[in-house]
Amino acid sequence: MKIKMPRWFYQLASPKWFYDFTGKLLPWFSLVALLLLTVGMVWGLVFAPADYQQGNSFRIIYIHVPSSILAQSCYMLMAVAGAIGLIWKMKIAHMVAQACAPIGASIAVMSLATGAIWGKPTWGAWWVWDARLTAMLVLLFLYIGVIALNSAFENKASADKASAVLSLVGLVNIPIIKYSVEWWNTLHQPATFTVTEKPAMPPEMWIPLLIMVLGFYCFFAVVLMSRARIEVLEREKRSDWVKKVIENY
């Protein structure tokens, strides 16, 4: 059986088309990301009311929660892109997956760092062995594994496929790891946003947070596209269109 995918899907497989298309998208995403991040940051850090228990120290939530959410989605994107690359033998998908790994790892570090800074005044310790912290740390290890495996291969094509297999194995394991550490120990407050329930905070607190989350996603898209574009140029450096791009730059 042959599954027919929409036309844009096949167009995306062409490095030149991808480069031109993301070139058009990039300024818009940058603008939206800048706007959302500025509005969310100012609103969250200056105008949102202070928490009645944690005072002003809770404001780091506006960095911590978006980065935690993003670190997980980034792994998912990396694994899905790797799967697309394996199934449809699409070079672009592998380039996107490869661009995801370092971004995801740095966002996971940011989530852990902001969590530590928040934990100090709230729990009285920089680090506690709590399920969610540990799960994020394991996620960081999974990213490090993918990056290490990718850079160990000399041959680019094998590196792509091997890291795609590894990230898929990791993706299957993430829920198992998550629930096993939750079983093991939990102290953290429950998730701030869930799809099914209304947030427990007042709207003047969670609306700026939502804006920050969206801003983080747009910012992620900007960084991802920039990295993937550079990767495209580097890998396609022998082709004529890349030479033209470089000459006109």
Binding site: F141, I144, A152, S158, A162, V165, I177, S180, V181
Partner: protein, 222 residues
């Protein structure tokens, strides 16, 4: 099925001709366990508290150490490539290799684990839980480790890399395995823990061989 047994017989025969391969993981397991009383404290009360975790971590590291060689010699002499191009089921081949690895690592570790448990003053009611959890948990370690071994078999510096890839995946087994021993030592029911370890084993038995085969194909072609 006959292919599975043929592959298993070959691997076990190879192991019995290099008997060090059986001794090394076991000696490593004992030595890691001995480091803890030397490095931390020989107090019996302390040792019986940490016994479950220390024995499980030592077993996990011993499995990890030996899993690197699971495809190595076959890759080096080219027989792995011949097996991959043959018309036989690769799923059976991979299962046979993992099973033979488990027999010489996890299975033997489970058999000698009561010895370490005695040195760590584990309460006697925990012995059964220890052996059962190792018997149910270590096959998963072999399966997951084989994914890492298959991904790194073509690389010269596989050793450290494989632990980076595989250790995060070992965490659930470690948690439930050590949890089983702790519950058993306190005289609580261990059925729930064993069921979870069994569930993880069945799950990885179903899916890990596909990942191993895909990884082997990538490594051989690179």
């Amino acid at each position: 099925m006959s292919f599975f047994f043929a592959a298993l017989k070959r691997d076990l025969l190879l192991v019995f001709r290099h008997r060090n391969d059986i001794i090394n993981p076991l000696a490593f397991f004992l030595m890691v366990a001995v480091l803890f009383p030397l490095g931390v404290s020989p107090e019996p009360s302390f040792l019986s508290d940490v016994a479950s975790g220390v024995i499980w971590v030592a077993a996990l590291l011993a499995c990890l150490l030996s899993v690197d060689g699971i495809f190595r010699t076959d890759y080096d002499d080219g027989s792995l490539e011949q097996m991959l191009v043959s018309s036989e089921s690769l799923y059976a081949l991979v299962l046979a290799k993992v099973f033979s690895h488990w027999l010489i690592s996890g299975f033997c570790l489970a058999l000698i684990s009561p010895l370490v448990a005695m040195m760590f003053f584990l309460p006697e009611q925990g012995y059964f839980a220890l052996v059962m959890s190792l018997l149910l948990g270590t096959p998963t370690l072999s399966l997951m480790g084989a994914i890492g071994a298959a991904l790194t078999v073509a690389l010269r510096k596989g050793g450290v890399l494989i632990s980076l890839l595989v250790l995060p995946l070992y965490i659930p087994v470690l948690i439930f395995g050590a949890g089983t021993v702790q519950a058993g030592a306190m005289g609580l029911s261990i059925q729930g823990y064993l069921a979870l370890l069994g569930a993880i084993l069945v799950f990885s038995l179903m899916f890990a061989p596909f990942a191993i085969v895909a990884a082997l194909k990538i490594s051989v072609r690179s």
